[in-house]
């Protein structure tokens, strides 16, 4: 009890003082905000990797990876007619210098196709030193922010060294950190000075009680003097003249100014990488044991390839469940520790169709707030199932989904 009171007093002290001791920077960024069925069955991320995680101000770092747009897109989530690949950062501590989708550079938003496969790359440049936990994520129009896997980035160096020069089509190089700032401040000061002058002209004389009383007494001519009228006429003429004149100067100075660009990019999906046809996996049934925090799938595998395959991983909402018998595989780095158990882990032979029971048991269901699925109106689980050829290492990916039956 004593400790608790001390903690409260400490917090109150911090509030009053406005500062406090060191805090471990948060690992998470609200990625559990959306309902599980949205996180599991919209954007399915995999193979996300960073080029490096320690770098200096002004150095660039790339995050690349793939995602599958789930076929079993939830009915209550608007279709991804407009989507924006973003990065969760605590403010622009990095700037985004490039972004690629399926090998094409893009800066606007894009329409995604359910069932489509995409590869992305985002290039970021360090702006403010610090240690930050960063995720790529998708803003889906009217649906929310679907997060990809996060990573820690360490940016060293000096914030003052950051520069961001951009060359305009006229050949001029401008510094994005300061372009137009002094000009903008200058114009605000100019108009602010005129407005202040006008206000002071009036408030220097007796105001409310005096003027109300005189106005009621019909002494209007005393309240507005000929000088006031002259100044008002000057304002009425001079202000529009100044506005139009300085506007004309600006128009002449920037003859090539163009409107803001507002197109929607159209980038087609890649040839199928997920559900590509050679090895099919279909979830027939899913049961979630609340007590054991375990999702048990019944999966039918149809191997039409010419090599035996084994299930290596089930990945949903950035939680990977790995078959420990195939320790080298993971669609994410660093690999998550959750374990995937199979009732029959012998390779599925070419031409064989087999139904297996797959158990993904881990506290992550609860920690990542995925178990809330059983309380959702759309209680279907979805994710990517990774199968590997026993020889050669080919990977086959299936996007699976099934209604969930809770076991209390």
């Amino acid at each position: 009890m004593k400790i608790k009171i001390t903690q409260w007093v400490y917090t109150l002290g911090l509030i009053i003082l406005g500062f406090g001791g060191p805090v471990q920077t948060a690992l998470a960024h609200g990625e559990k905000a959306l309902e599980p069925f949205i996180r599991m069955r919209t954007i399915q991320w995999y193979d996300v990797a960073w080029s490096k995680q320690q770098f200096k101000v002004n150095e660039e770092v790339a995050v690349s990876g793939r995602f599958h747009v789930a076929e079993d897109w939830p009915v209550s989530v608007p279709k991804p007619e407009a989507a924006f690949l973003n990065v969760s950062t605590p403010g622009p501590v990095l700037i985004r210098t490039e972004r690629w989708l399926n090998g094409k550079p893009w800066v606007n938003s894009v329409a995604l196709q359910p069932g489509g496969d995409y590869e992305f790359k985002i290039v970021l440049k360090g702006r403010l030193p610090g240690r930050y936990h960063i995720h790529p994520f998708f803003n889906l129009k009217d649906a929310g922010q679907v997060m990809g896997p996060g990573a820690w980035l360490d940016i060293s160096g000096n914030a003052g060294d950051f520069s961001n020069g951009v060359k305009t089509l006229n050949g001029e190089i401008v510094d994005m950190e300061s372009v137009g700032l002094l000009n903008g401040i200058g114009w605000h000061l100019f108009w602010g000075a005129l407005a202040t002058g006008w206000l002071l002209w009036w408030v220097r004389r007796p105001l409310f009680i005096s003027r109300y009383r005189m106005l009621q007494a019909g002494m209007e001519e005393v309240l507005i003097t000929p000088t006031d009228r002259l100044i008002a006429k000057a304002v009425l003429v001079a202000v529009p003249v100044i506005v139009l004149a300085v506007n004309a100067v600006a128009v002449n100075r920037y003859p090539n100014a163009i409107p803001l660009q507002a197109s929607l990019d159209r980038i087609l999906p890649l040839p199928a990488l997920v559900n590509a046809g050679q090895v099919d996996a279909e979830a027939i049934k899913a049961e979630y044991s609340v007590a054991k925090r375990a999702m048990v799938f019944t999966v039918r595998i149809d191997n039409r390839s010419d090599k035996p395959v084994r299930i290596g991983e089930f990945n949903t909402a950035n939680v990977g469940f790995i078959n420990p018998e195939l320790p080298a595989v993971s669609s994410q780095a660093p690999a998550t520790a959750a374990v995937l158990k199979l009732d029959d882990d012998t390779p599925v032979r070419p031409g064989e169709t087999r139904t297996v029971t797959v158990t993904a048991q881990d506290a992550s269901w609860e920690a990542e707030k995925l178990d809330g699925l059983i309380n959702d109106a759309d209680s279907r689980v979805g994710g990517l199932l990774f199968l590997y050829a026993s020889e050669g290492g080919e990977r086959y990916i299936s996007s699976v989904s099934a209604a969930v039956i809770p076991k209390f």
């Binding site: 500062f19 406090g20 471990q24 920077t25 948060a26 998470a28 609200g30 905000a33 929310g144 707030k369």
Partner: protein
Amino acid sequence: MATTSEPMPAVTHIGKRLPWYLQDLPRYLKTFGALTVLYTSLRLYQGAFAVSAGLDSTEPAFEQYWMRLFYIELAVIAVVMTGLWAYLWFTRDRQLDKLSPKEEIRRYFTLTMWISIYTFAVYWAGSYFAEQDNSWHQVAIRDTPFTANHIIEFYFNFPLYVILGGCAWLYARTRLPLYAKGISLPLTLAVFGPFMILVSVGFNEWGHTFWFREEFFAAPIHWGFVIGVWFALGVGGILLQGVTRLIDLLDQIEDAD
């Protein structure tokens, strides 16, 4: 800032430095100062702990640094509301019919100070921390109604200005004859309308939970706040009520150098 109606025992005491009608000026200025320190401290607290502990509501640090602040705020709000409103009510003037013109003038000045304190709180809630919310939504992914800015804006700033507006309303109702005889419509509008902004928080959170995921600030789900703040224009009517009464009262007192 509240005093009862005994014919100004304090006036002569302060009178050497301040005229009788500005008797409450020092308290007014101190309250301004205290509120400035309070709001600035909250902003500094955000600067210190919002990014480090306020990005995810499921983290233990969030509970420690933000939810605990939220609970402290609720306690402070409850104490301040009860204390101020009870004080103003229980120290009400029960002999308003015997009020001297000078004392009534002084009370109009004090009422103006109360409303000024109220509008100062409206500034922090309606201007600074309100637009700052947009800035914070560019950093944090909204995963709770209790974000690092909402905890201060919605659950402290809003109730605080409601309390201060209520104080102005109660002060007028308990200490000024015209406001005691009838209920001032503009003062009631100016206090109760912005109070509805606090109620609009519920509509806002409902909207963001069920059908509006985007951080578009000018969105219709925010217009409940907008309509609430229009009622602040009732201050124009309060001014007119004050001015007309003060003119009458000034006619009743002697000229002095």
